[in-house]
Symmetry: C2
Subunit: 390 residues, 2 copies
């Protein structure tokens, strides 16, 4: 934090900073930047010094500065510029980064209270205060890249997504998905692999690191925008009253589970289709049932996500019962597990026999519409519509 | 087409073929392969000759051969092996490739009727007939690669799809999509760019070339398996009683229009969603209306494909009216045109104001569910379900 009289020279400001650093045993290399009052945004000595030393200059309004309680307030300064502290308050505010704390805690970061420095024969005066930031200062605006990694085979990950994973400072994701993209990672990246259940923690951690100025890739299998991490991260940013810019957010779409499954069984999605997750952890089961009924009745080709877990077993049975009310029992059904991976399993069956094939959380189920047919082991939904009224 | 007495030497068969070719001024290099009766599949002279000259040997059953009417049938041969013609009938059948014609037309391909060749002092006898194939013989089993090229930016095309386009002998697609992937094409490829309306012709042409033995990439924008060329090609193969193997078919999924649009506006597809095409060219409008009603009522996030063309203008208006019956008028709506291209246009609006933004065939419309919100110019559908009963 710097305050100075109008017209103070670059040289005096620099030597004041050096003098205070030396006195308190701070290396000059640890200076992340200079903070001051916005009235000083055109102060030639400060601007020249910041330019020469490549220190970012952050300016606060008098209103912002006077909200900070400081150890050494000055009535004279308050009268002149509208805040009782410039150097101390600016140093404290600049050290906070994006963290919002109760204002009573703010001054905890102050390491050196204000020192006034003058030099014989030189006009002007400089006040210097030093606050310490909790997080390393990167001088960059953070970025959040929300990346879909598709079914898990590198050849099915878009080049845009691959580049994002390779360029990010940090890659965050569920352990298995991190392993699947390990060939794209480079030395020096921060890799944070978290268990599958800790989705909220992954989103929070990603936002925290991006606010620090890092470029953070959050990876999701399939398309991160379809039941994936993209929404979770954006939801949490929204709760933090995100301004839409800091951090910058970019979504990289990927091949979703329903597309990957469809591509391996033929062309089932050639007519109107829907995706329904059978997980009732966050959605009331009656909503899911209503959607299953609507999809069955209106003859959508239907992809079921999260069809069964170790504890949720009845949902797929109910889904089958609902569809059997409106669709022929020999309606083609594809059951695809671990698609595009070495252990891939594909079963083409019928609505009536759907439960005879093992189904778990790694499985996607695609139920055809009234026109869908099986030919030569391919599931084909005609482009034209033959099934109405059938 | 070759027939021979049991034990005829390789040398005699070869010189018989050479003699007949010379007599009728056919170059030996134009021989695509040898065809005969399945009883001759173990005839040492034929096998050795085919091996040495790298001629494929195709064997037909007596039943297949006797179905062909030939100029020079023989009762003696018929009595011996169950078909009145071996050389002529086999030549004719082999020259057909995958083309199925009325059997009366079959013999049109015969160029040289059967000639019997013997050699003084040599045991055995050879009959030779020559038929001409309409298509160049490639000696390969064809492949059909159905490739999704995503929204049109190379960085959004999967490496698997890019490799397929670069490796194919033939690339077939709508002119604009061919241009978008022109950087992936290589010299020597056959490129067939066809107008947007000729989808059926594109599929037929692709199948024809694949049956010739070529590797044919059929490209579709978005995901070829979602309202794309994959289904059209499979449908036509099915009509031709395709055996599932010849040609081999592989589907390469791509980033679909709804995913591309979603990724640019935030994360609207975080809960159950559906895709509905408003084109009633091949689907009765009452089916589409039923699906719109089901989607609106059951609170699916809804992507509308083909929302409006120059001649179809009322459909999007009806869709809006249907949704307004079940959703709040300020439900967020994204209107995305030419996504990921330089001319991309993104509008976030509401269900009530949806028609105030220009909409055409290059536009995808995404209607949020009851929980979808706009924050900082991003469309966010929460993962949890807040909207039921609201």
């Amino acid at each position: 934090g710097i305050g100075c009289e109008r017209g103070t020279s670059r040289q005096l400001i620099e030597s004041a900073i050096q003098q205070v650093c030396q006195a308190h045993q701070f290396a000059e290399g640890s200076i992340a930047g200079i903070a001051t009052l916005d009235l000083k945004a055109d102060e030639a000595g400060i601007l020249k010094l910041c330019h020469d030393r490549q220190w970012p200059l952050q300016c606060f309004t008098a209103e912002q500065l006077r909200s900070v309680s400081v150890p050494t307030p000055s009535d004279i300064v308050a009268e002149e510029v509208g805040t009782p502290s410039v150097a101390e308050a600016a140093a404290i505010l600049a050290s906070q980064g994006h963290k919002l704390r109760a204002s009573s805690d703010l001054s905890a970061s102050l390491r050196v209270a204000k020192t006034i420095v003058r030099q014989a024969g030189q006009p002007g005066a400089v006040t210097v205060a030093i606050a310490e930031a909790e997080q390393e200062y990167t001088g960059r605006s953070g970025r959040l890249w929300l990346v879909g990694t598709g079914p898990g085979e590198l050849a099915q990950i878009t080049p845009a997504a691959q580049t994002a994973i390779g360029q990010a400072d940090v890659v965050i994701g569920y352990t298995l998905y991190i392993e699947l993209v390990s060939a794209l990672l480079r030395p020096g990246q921060i890799i944070e692999a978290l268990p599958i259940t800790q989705e909220r923690q992954r989103a929070e951690r990603a936002i925290e690191l991006a606010q620090w100025g890092l470029t953070v890739a959050v990876i999701s299998s399939g398309d991160c925008g379809i039941y994936g991490m993209a929404g979770l991260v954006l939801e949490q940013l929204q709760q933090q009253e995100w301004d839409g810019k800091t951090p910058d957010v970019q979504v990289f779409p990927g091949i979703s589970a329903l597309q990957a499954a469809a591509s391996r069984v033929g062309a089932p999605l050639m007519h109107d289709f829907c995706a329904i997750s059978l997980s009732d952890l966050l959605t009331p089961w009656e909503v899911i049932e209503q959607r299953l009924t609507a999809a069955a009745q209106a003859d959508f080709v239907t992809a079921l996500y999260n069809p069964r877990s170790q504890t949720r077993t009845h949902q797929i049975e109910t889904a089958q019962q609902i569809f059997l009310k409106y669709r022929n029992s020999n309606t083609p059904v594809a059951i695809v597990r671990s698609v595009y991976r070495p252990e891939e399993q594909i079963t083409l069956t019928t609505l009536a026999q759907l439960l005879e094939t093992p189904i778990d959380m790694l499985t996607t189920v695609i139920i055809g519409n009234r026109s869908t047919q099986i030919h030569a082991n391919k599931m084909i939904t005609p482009r034209g519509y033959l099934g109405f009224g059938a």
